[in-house]
């Protein structure tokens, strides 16, 4: 598969070689004590944004830097490492990867010596699907992917408390956005890193979603006390509104699609469904909704069907 990825890259480089400035311009912003955010743009992957659509955070502790999510490419990872080195002399000692999606783990390639931690099922997911995600990223963001290969997390974490350099980090093993979603709550600063469980002002993505499980995870987060919420996509928040917004979207999605399936609409007929204003206003609408139709409608329409009778096979 490595040769395939390299082959794709060569083709892409030939097609796009002239004048591409491959700098993400990663700028840390202090959002809490010791805590810096590298905020991604609220867009879909493109050659303009190089895949930098994800929020990456760095906690500078007395025992080294803890990074939460690693960005979409080897280049991103390298530029992240350089940006952190400008912030502090402390080395990166730990990376937490919240889920299997490529923009969250591919940048960890730039941190081969660092403990790269995630939940067990996420490691399985990256092993199974990582190559395919990576090829797809080459197609979508092109030259920004140069030299990017899947680097597996090398440390499996369990839910519970870990203490790193004076920061007490609670790890929560949730699910629903993907089969395993790692959430980190820094009790020392009250910062909640929700990973993909919470989206803010952006339509949530559903390629690996289980909506019932997702709802339960959102309820868990809603019961937590925090001072600052860092979603994986979209602006940070001092209140619970992004949690409610994410739940509102997946509720709308499921009700609309199961309603359409119960009325006998074809999958292509629901692609252009008009969402209410509050949903239509989210970033990456309606493209994200159209993707969700592909993910969710087949199962919902099957639920509306019944076995035929008098079958002759």
């Amino acid at each position: 598969m490595r040769t395939t990825a390299a082959g794709v890259l060569i083709l892409l480089m030939c097609a796009t070689a002239p004048a591409v400035d491959l700098h993400y311009g990663l700028t840390p912003r202090l959002i809490a004590e010791d805590t810096y955010l590298f905020e991604g743009v609220n867009e879909d992957f493109s050659r303009d944004n190089g895949g930098n659509i994800v929020n990456v955070a760095a906690i500078v502790t007395q025992a080294g830097v803890v990074v939460i999510n690693a960005g979409p490419s080897r280049l991103y990872g390298e530029q992240l490492r350089a940006a952190i080195a400008r912030l502090t002399d402390q080395p990166v000692v730990r990376i937490f990867i919240s889920k299997l999606h490529p923009d969250h783990f591919l940048g960890s390639q730039a941190f081969p010596q660092v403990t790269r931690s995630t939940l067990a099922e996420t490691i399985t997911g990256i092993s199974d699907q990582g190559e395919q995600f990576t090829l797809n990223m080459y197609r979508m963001v092109g030259p920004w992917m140069i030299g990017t290969e899947v680097t597996l997390p090398n440390d499996t974490v369990q839910p519970g408390m870990v203490e790193i350099g004076g920061h007490r980090l609670e790890l929560l093993a949730l699910a629903g956005h993907t089969p395993s979603d790692l959430v980190v709550l820094d009790h020392s600063t009250g910062t909640l890193f929700t990973g993909g469980v919470v989206f803010h002002n952006r339509a949530p993505t559903t390629p690996h979603a289980d909506l019932a499980g997702w709802r339960a995870s959102l309820e868990t987060l809603d019961r937590l006390e925090f001072r600052l919420l860092v979603p994986s996509h979209g602006p940070v928040s001092r209140d619970h509104r992004p949690i409610a917004q994410t739940r509102d979207y997946i509720d709308w999605l499921e009700e609309s699609l199961s309603g359409a399936a119960a009325e006998g609409l074809d999958m292509a007929e629901v692609l252009n469904m008009k969402p209410p204003e509050r949903i239509a206003a989210l970033a990456v609408m309606p493209a994200e909704y159209q993707r969700s139709v592909s993910h969710l409608y087949p199962a919902l329409e099957r639920a509306a069907f019944r076995p035929a009778t008098e079958q002759v096979q």
Partner: protein, 225 residues
């Protein structure tokens, strides 16, 4: 919308007969194929008078023809899903009573690989005991009937290494009395376990769905409300 293959399409698939690009033939599909194994498409030619046949094809697919629909007593529109190999136009040609193909189209972006990927079923043995099994439902509307159904079938294109071509070829939708309401001819790119949406003219509470694949396996079943 032109493609390098259009002249070939016009000659081979439309038999070189006269055609017009006609926006009244609507092709609904996503802008980009999220799942290259199952791209949803809905074709609606009901604004064109006297349509006797609809051909759907994708110029740049290795096997361009997707299906041929004969709406005997049905509206000239249908929904289905297909496998796409790369970005391509999806075109629907509706043959009207004046003998002219009315062609509507949409451009589909795709990461690709759908036609040369093995079916999911080819990786398991479970499908064999369910081959040809039908599920579905009927929704009665005022003076028409929406029929939706799915048939269990791997729909192998023959383009995936070591897996022979094996796909459904013919469908026949009939009333309980045996009157044909619609006929459908399907080609390799139609998705695995194909799902169809059809709008039949009479308001009925049940229909029979029958057909066969290219290996001569037949199926028949009754779908009701």
């Amino acid at each position: 919308m032109r493609s390098v293959q259009w002249d070939t399409m016009q000659r081979q698939i439309l038999d070189g007969r006269p055609f017009v690009f006609d926006p009244r033939v609507k092709v609904l599909a996503p802008t980009s194929a999220e799942d290259s194994m199952a791209v949803p498409v809905f074709v609606d030619a009901s604004e064109v008078e006297g349509v006797s046949e609809i051909l759907v094809f994708a110029d740049l697919n290795p096997i361009p023809e997707i299906l041929r629909y004969i709406p005997v007593q049905a509206a000239p529109r249908l929904g289905f899903r297909f496998k796409v190999q790369q970005a391509t136009p999806i075109r629907a040609a509706a043959l009207s009573e004046d003998g002219v193909w009315h062609v509507g189209q949409v451009w589909l972006e795709a990461a690709g690989g759908g036609c040369t990927l093995p079916s999911l079923a080819s990786g398991s043995t479970d499908w064999e005991s369910h081959l040809g099994e039908v599920s579905g439902r009927i929704w009665r509307h005022d003076q028409s009937t929406r029929l939706r159904f799915v048939v269990v079938h791997p729909m192998d294109t023959g383009l995936a290494p070591g897996i022979p071509r094996f796909h459904l070829e013919e469908f026949d939708i009939r009333t309980d009395d045996g009157v044909t309401l619609a006929r459908l001819e399907t080609f390799e790119p139609v998705s695995e376990n194909p799902v169809f949406s059809l709008d039949l003219n009479p308001e009925v509470s049940a229909v029979r769905v029958g057909g066969r694949d290219n290996s001569g396996n037949r199926f028949d079943a009754r779908v009701s409300e």
